[in-house]
């Protein structure tokens, strides 16, 4: 008899418009010591299952049918107190963002001991001892001092370790990990996943690992269940499901995953359910100013670029402390290429991008565009001329569009600002753009919140292309998107670069994506460029310690099926 069994579970959210079935007749079982992956794109209902098991469904959600059994005993529909008894004690949970899931105002010790005593009772001494052991176990060095620190004094990875320690407090039988590594850097992600693996093994805990990341699934889980729109589409041993997916959706999902190993020309557009929205880059190309991209001469020459941020403001100049975000960075970007910058959070990659975009003033060094130094431009005309040629696509499609502006105004703003056209022409141009990015011009009358993430990113692209720029900065353009959408957007970007001869600066933390997109890559660490190579060369034989470490830690996707993918020639 398995540890946790879910039979025919259905969870419904009655909304005022219609009844929304988040989880639709799902069966699932977890054995002790087993890590069971629950994969699917957002809205698939995977997190809802987690919540349902914990009995933490947000109002007005309810379990409409089905049973949840923990080592044989029915736990769905237990009353609040009984459920509280189980929570933390028999089942516990790990949330996505370690920063927000710890109470900022209590020390780690307080949070641990209160949980321990809530379930096991016992003296403070015992609780403290146990807390110390846990902290030690999850691999936090120097537990005694760390115990009395506050969450904000821990780095992301360490915080997630604390969260895990909290989850382990009372020796639960089942742990539900909901996107435990999504907010973390690649290197840290690997460590955390290893930790979870170990713990599952040594304590025979059953783990449900909820994620959207095929890489994580492939590396970590024993079994996997693929969900789509609340339904289970495929389930089985990980290697089998990943290797020979039978269901169409699983196939499309796997096909969309960027591979570190082989570089594709385009992501295959096997799309499931929804209809593929066409991106008419050819029409766009028709009246696009021709640019000669002689790849020999650089569009940008970045020399000794430096940026400092005020870290602690003091009354007097000398008790202020600065933190160097970008430290003496130099590189060229050749016309027509896709230049990648990879690095972990805090490596300064986005800062570089923003300085090139002219959003941050430059503290040191120069930026030269077409032989003209732009880093110290002050006169408005020159600046606007420069800005016309530079556009940017931001990471978060939710905050990069002004929620109070209609889409057509958003797209028209650059045109109007640069006085490229007047009156009716503007409208025509905007509709054109919206059609071309595949949203249809009627979309112009709506507000951003009426669109999905992918659609919003298309709006951003439309806005970026409105001034017919020559140079496009993409700052983590897909890191907030699901793989299938990511595939679409990446394809679009490739098209733009090819047909419109745009030059791209591509910022990302995701090595596989970089592999797919970039011609040359600069690896950044703590504000410095540590390595700069042709992409293939970098992946083949990294020159620096750091680069090879990054490559080592990135998820291996070797056993993912590769049918439908044609490598670049």
């Amino acid at each position: 008899m398995s540890l946790l069994t879910i039979n025919d579970l259905t969870v419904e959210f009655p909304t005022r418009r219609q009844l929304f079935t988040a989880v639709d007749h799902v069966d699932l079982s977890v054995e002790p010591g087993e890590i069971h992956g629950l994969v699917g794109e957002s809205g698939a209902g995977k997190s809802t299952i987690g919540a349902a098991i914990m009995g933490l469904l947000d109002r007005p959600g309810r379990i409409a049918s089905g049973t949840i059994k923990l080592s044989g005993d029915e736990i769905s529909g237990l009353d609040a107190d009984a459920m509280r008894g189980l929570r933390g004690k028999k089942i516990s949970m790990i949330f996505q963002d370690p920063l927000t899931s710890l109470n900022p105002l209590f020390t780690v010790r307080e949070q641990l001991t209160e949980t321990i005593q809530a379930h096991l009772g016992g003296t403070d001494a015992e609780a403290n001892q146990r807390a110390r052991d846990l902290i030690d176990r999850v691999g936090i060095p120097d537990p005694d001092t760390r115990l009395d620190q506050y969450p904000h004094q821990f780095s992301g990875g360490m915080r997630q370790r604390v969260v895990i320690a909290l989850a382990l407090c009372t020796e639960p039988d089942v742990i539900i990990a909901d996107e435990p590594t999504t907010a973390l850097d690649v290197s840290v992600q690997a460590q955390i996943l290893d930790l979870i693996k170990e713990l599952a093994q040594e304590r025979q805990v059953g783990v449900i690992l909820i994620t959207h990341d095929m890489g994580v699934i492939a590396d970590t889980t024993d079994k996997v269940t693929v969900m789509y729109a609340g339904k289970v589409v495929e389930t089985g041993p990980t290697s089998q499901v990943m290797g020979q997916p039978t269901h169409e959706y699983t196939k499309s999902l796997i096909a969309a995953v960027p591979r570190p190993t082989l570089k594709l020309h385009r992501f295959p557009q096997i799309s499931y359910g929804g209809r593929e929205t066409r991106f008419a880059v050819e029409d766009m190309a028709r009246h696009w100013p021709k640019v000669d991209n002689d790849t020999s001469k650089p569009v940008f020459e970045i020399r000794n670029l430096t940026k400092k941020f005020l870290q602690r403001k003091g009354l007097l100049p000398w008790d202020r402390t600065y933190f160097t975000a970008v430290d003496d960075v130099s590189f060229d970007i050749r016309a027509g290429e896709v230049f990648g910058v990879v690095g972990e959070s805090g490596s300064g990659k986005s800062t570089v991008a923003r300085m090139i975009a002219g959003l941050y003033p430059v503290d040191g060094g120069t930026i030269t565009f077409d032989g003209q130094v732009v880093s110290d431009l002050t006169n408005r005309a020159a600046l606007d001329a420069y800005r016309k040629n530079i556009q940017m696509i931001f990471q978060d499609p939710y905050s990069s569009l002004n929620p109070r502006m209609r889409v057509d105004d958003i797209v028209a703003e650059p045109i109007r600002h640069h006085k490229l056209m007047e009156g009716a022409d503007v409208k025509r141009r905007v509709d054109e753009l919206l059609d071309q990015v595949g949203l249809g011009h009627e979309a112009g009358l709506k507000f951003p919140h009426e669109f999905s993430g992918g659609q919003r990113q298309r709006i951003s692209i439309a806005r970026a292309l409105a001034t017919q720029p020559r140079f496009l900065i993409c700052d983590e353009p897909t890191s907030a998107l699901d793989v299938s959408i990511q595939a679409q957007i990446l394809n679009i970007l490739k098209d733009l670069q090819e047909h419109l001869g745009l030059t791209l600066l591509f910022i990302s933390h995701d090595l596989p994506v970089v592999r797919q997109m970039c011609d040359r890559v600069a690896v950044m660490k703590q504000g410095k460029v540590v390595e700069l190579q042709e992409t293939n060369a970098l992946f083949a034989n990294p020159q620096t310690e750091y680069a090879s470490e990054l490559l080592r830690l990135m998820p291996k996707l070797d056993d993912l099926s590769t049918d439908g993918l044609e490598a670049e020639v």
Partner: protein, 316 residues
């Protein structure tokens, strides 16, 4: 997060129908409190606006008053003149009902314009402080502190004094109302500034602002075109609540003797006059204006309350 499927954009519905089944309108339609409150406000405001049409008398026209009508109880004929008045008359023989309508006019006018003024000052200063930061911010926020130091009454007296000093005597009566407005506004702008600043500090770092800067928009277009619309909802909430406060502040100021001229009493002035008759048995002179004020302020507050929850997406 995002849906998996890129659904084709549905044909856009009419603005109204969209608004009508938008969450905002929906939560309104499902909140009896909000509905009742807004009805009350509506009725009061309308009857104030159309006072000249509704009111049986014009209390602001001295020639029409007959002192002998003074202190007529509600609905009973006056001892000397045999006239009857729905809600009775005050010490000057003014029909209380008409006086309330006309008084509410002044109170609302004062309240609304004061809040608007405060809002404008607060928004501008708040945005500027948040967007530019540095010493400008410090300056503005310290001025706000000074502002808080002065009780509204003082500010009012100060302004009355100065206005008295600078305006030629013959304009003082006209002036009184506007002085009142300025006084209340000046003692009220701070909270707007604080809220706007707080919200703007958040918005300022959002990527759409970066995008706008990238396009090359100047500081003020960004502040007012981009940031302002996104910080308006908290402002709206405060605005409603401080509307109620402004009306009450006006009453309090009248109580302390710096208020609307007695010949053109506001709701507050009426209450001040009325409270003198609390023990003397002419309860109606205080009671009806007080009830009107209560009804007005209470329903405005309730609306503000409901707004606060309705405009908070997390509460849905």
């Amino acid at each position: 997060m995002t849906d998996t499927i890129e659904t084709p954009s549905a044909p856009t519905k009419s603005r109204f129908s969209k608004f009508w089944d938008g969450d905002f309108a929906w939560s309104f339609r499902h909140s009896p409190v909000a509905i009742i409150a807004s009805l009350v406000v509506l009725v009061l405001v309308l009857s104030a606006v159309f006072a000249p049409l509704i009111a049986p008398y014009n209390p602001f026209d001295p020639a029409s008053l007959n002192l002998m009508n003074g202190f007529t109880p509600p609905g009973t004929p006056n001892a000397f003149t045999q006239d009857t008045f729905l809600l009775g008359t005050d010490d000057q023989g003014r029909d209380v009902f008409s006086t309330i309508l006309y008084g509410m006019r002044i109170s609302l006018f004062v309240g609304v314009s004061a809040v608007l003024l405060a809002m404008i000052i607060g928004i501008v200063l708040g945005l500027v402080a948040a967007y530019f930061g540095g010493w400008i911010e410090t300056l503005i926020m310290r001025v706000a502190d000074v502002q808080l130091t002065f009780p509204a009454i003082l500010v009012a007296m100060l302004i009355f004094g100065i206005a008295k000093g600078v305006t030629p005597p013959e304009y003082r009566n006209e002036m009184a109302i506007y002085v009142l407005i300025i006084a209340i506004a000046l003692s009220d702008w701070v909270q707007f500034a604080r809220v706007v600043r707080g919200a703007a500090l958040v918005e300022k770092n959002k990527e759409y602002v970066q995008a706008a800067r990238l396009i090359g928009r100047g500081s003020f277009p960004i502040m007012f075109r981009h940031i302002l619309p996104n910080v308006l909802s908290p402002v709206l909430v405060i605005a409603t609540i401080s509307l109620a406060l402004a009306i009450i502040a006006e009453a309090t100021l009248s109580f302390l003797g710096v208020g609307a001229p007695p010949t053109q009493p506001s709701l507050g002035t009426l209450i001040r006059i009325g409270q003198g008759f609390l023990f003397s048995g002419e309860w109606w002179i205080l009671f009806f204006p007080a009830c009107t004020l209560l009804a007005l302020a209470l329903s405005v507050n309730l609306l503000g309350d409901w707004l606060r929850d309705a405009l908070n997406p997390k509460l849905r």
